[in-house]
C-alpha cells in the first residue's frame, strides 16, 4: 500500500491518526472495505426510559444516602439540598406500613 511497516504499526496501535487517503489504500490492500460513521446518535435510551426500566426492576426499593453513613461534610451537603435524614425516614416508614 506504499507505506512502511512502522507506519502501519503506528496506525494500528493508535499512535498516529491516518488520513482518509491512507485508509483508502489500507482498505484496497486488505481487500476489505472500511466504513466510518460519524455523528451517529447514541444507542443509550433517553433519561425517562432508563429511569422507567430502573423503577420497574427495583420496584419499591429507594436509594437512601443515610444508609451509606455519610461523613459530616456529606451530611451537610445532603441537608443543603433538602435530602434530610427525616425525609428518608418518612419514606421508610411509609414503605414499612405498606408491607
Amino acid at each position: 500500500m506504499g507505506t512502511s511497516q512502522a507506519a502501519v504499526s503506528n496506525m494500528e496501535s493508535g499512535r498516529t491518526l491516518p488520513t482518509l487517503s491512507v485508509l483508502e489504500r489500507f482498505a484496497e490492500a486488505t481487500g476489505r472495505p472500511l466504513t466510518i460513521v460519524v455523528g451517529a446518535p447514541s444507542r443509550l435510551a433517553g433519561r425517562d426510559e432508563r429511569r422507567r426500566r430502573v423503577r420497574l426492576v427495583l420496584g419499591d426499593y429507594r436509594f437512601d444516602p443515610w444508609e451509606r453513613r455519610p461523613s459530616k461534610v456529606e451530611a451537610q451537603s445532603l441537608e443543603a439540598d433538602g435530602l434530610t435524614r427525616e425525609r428518608f425516614e418518612g419514606s421508610r416508614a411509609a414503605e414499612g406500613r405498606r408491607h
Partner: protein, 202 residues
C-alpha cells in the same frame, strides 16, 4: 489550566439547583484546575448512567492528586475536611473525594457529555457496572451495592458491552478467585433478574 474557564464553570455550578448537574459542572471545572484529567466515578456516575435518584452524597473523582493540585484546589475555594475537599457554593455544599489515582478499567471507554458550558469526563458504563458488582460482593444481603449494580443493568442492558464485561470477569477470577467467582455469580443473578422483569408484559 484555565482559571477563567474553571471560575465560569464553578459560577454556573453555584446557580444550578439540580444536584447531579451541579456535581458534573464541578467535575468539569476540575478538568481545568487539576494537572491530570479527572474522571467521575461512584454515585455521581451511577446517577448519570441510570437516571435514577441515587442521591450521591459526594463527588468521587479518580485522578493523581499532586501537591500543586492541592494548592490549586485551595486557590479555587476548596477546603480539606477529613477525606473530602468541600466547596461552599451559594446555596449548596459539594464534597469531593479523590479515592484513587486511576479508574479500574479502560479510560478509552469514558464519556464526556455536554453539561451546560462544561464537559465532565465520566467512567464508562461497562466499568461502572464492574465496579458496582465488585462492591456488591462485599455484602451478603441485597443492600445498596446490589441494587446499584441492578440499576445499571436495568437502565442500559442493551448498551453494556457484555463481551468486555465477561473478559474482565474472567481476568479477575483468574487473578483472584475469591473475588472473581462471587462477581461472576452475582453478574449472572443480576442479568437474569433484569431480563425476567423487563420481559414481563407491563
Amino acid at each position: 489550566v484555565s482559571d477563567s474557564k474553571a471560575r465560569e464553570l464553578l459560577k454556573v455550578a453555584g446557580t444550578e439547583s439540580r444536584r447531579l448537574e451541579r456535581h458534573l459542572l464541578v467535575a468539569a471545572a476540575l478538568r481545568e484546575i487539576l494537572s491530570s484529567d479527572p474522571i467521575v466515578v461512584g454515585g455521581t456516575a451511577e446517577e448519570y448512567w441510570t437516571a435514577d435518584e441515587y442521591h450521591q452524597s459526594d463527588l468521587d473523582i479518580c485522578v493523581p492528586l499532586t501537591r500543586g493540585d492541592e494548592a490549586a484546589l485551595r486557590r479555587f475555594g476548596f477546603r480539606k475536611r477529613g477525606r473530602h475537599w468541600s466547596l461552599d457554593l451559594a446555596s449548596a455544599i459539594v464534597a469531593v473525594e479523590f479515592p484513587d489515582s486511576r479508574i479500574d478499567g479502560d479510560e478509552s471507554r469514558t464519556v464526556e457529555p455536554r453539561i451546560g458550558p462544561g464537559r465532565p469526563r465520566i467512567i464508562g458504563l461497562d466499568d461502572l457496572y464492574l465496579d458496582r458488582l465488585r462492591q456488591a460482593t462485599m455484602s451478603t444481603h441485597e443492600g445498596v451495592e446490589f441494587h446499584s449494580a441492578l440499576a445499571v443493568v436495568a437502565a442500559a442492558h442493551d448498551e453494556i458491552d457484555w463481551g468486555y464485561v465477561r473478559k474482565r470477569l474472567r481476568k479477575i477470577a483468574d487473578d483472584d478467585p475469591a473475588l472473581g467467582d462471587p462477581m461472576k455469580r452475582l453478574d449472572s443473578r443480576i442479568r437474569g433478574r433484569v431480563r425476567r422483569v423487563l420481559s414481563e408484559p407491563s
